[in-house]
């Protein structure tokens, strides 16, 4: 466990907590993008360059922006007056705490050491060739899924003409 890991971990946890706790949704998304960046840094540290950069590109470049747009599109005066947390927040929080304690216990109770062999970062060529060979079917399916999601998102979010209430 290196210092860099500790820094990144603290950054991630702090920004995640902020993202889930701040009142202003835009602030939430902004802190969230710090989280995403931190996770990407974690990936880079672990030698998964490609995944880390993809993480930034997809999450910071797309998901965060998308969320921001969605927030801008759904802002209403009524929404701001309501509270940040739902009525059953305490139950939810307790559930989350329970989940974390159980998971943490599970992690700590199992001595999974893992092999700390010399890390050879996975090269893009490797990823590319396995995408084109072993994983070609999942790749095609993902492509199909993304296309479907794209079309679906547009169709769902598109304003219908007859919808003039």
């Amino acid at each position: 466990m290196s210092i860099s890991f500790l820094i990144i971990a603290v950054l991630i946890v702090g920004s995640t907590a902020a993202a889930m706790g701040l009142r202003n949704p835009i602030h939430c998304v902004l802190t969230l993008s710090i989280t995403f960046g931190g996770i990407a840094a974690l990936f880079l540290q672990l030698g998964a360059e490609f995944v880390g950069l993809t993480q930034i590109m997809v999450y910071v470049g797309a998901v965060a922006i998308l969320a921001v747009f969605a927030i801008m599109m759904t802002q209403s005066r009524r929404g701001l007056m309501l509270g940040t947390f739902s009525r059953n927040a305490l139950v939810g929080l307790l559930t989350a705490v329970a989940v974390f304690s159980v998971l943490g216990w599970a992690v700590l109770s199992q001595p999974v050491a893992g092999v700390t062999a010399a890390v050879s970062p996975v090269s893009v060529q490797q990823i590319g060739s396995s995408l084109m060979h072993e994983y070609v079917l999942p790749l095609e399916l993902i492509g199909l899924l993304l296309t479907a999601a794209l079309i679906g998102a547009i169709v769902i979010a598109m304003e219908r003409k007859e919808d003039t209430e």
Binding site: M1, V29, L46, A48, V51, A67, A70, S120, L145, I156
Partner: protein
Amino acid sequence: MTGLQAYLLLSSLLFAIGLAGALTRRNAILVLIGIELMLNAANINFIAFWHYGPATTYITGVMFAIFSISVAAAEAAVGLAIIVAAYRHSHTIDLDSMNSLKG
């Protein structure tokens, strides 16, 4: 605490925070974001297990993370589109007031 355990602990913490957010926030978009965070926590696990796994040349973990990111992107797109559509319908994205299905 070994390296792998640290990563797993971090990811479970992230997962728990994401879950907490998803469970407690009123804003539907933030609930969705909480779910994204949970997915990210899972991704950390994939990468950590790959890194500490038997052979880094065996890249299933990385591939899984990549696919998971793609799926998450699709999920975010569709989820946000649904939220926007729901907002257009009921003029709120407050989950507590979206209870017309309640029996």
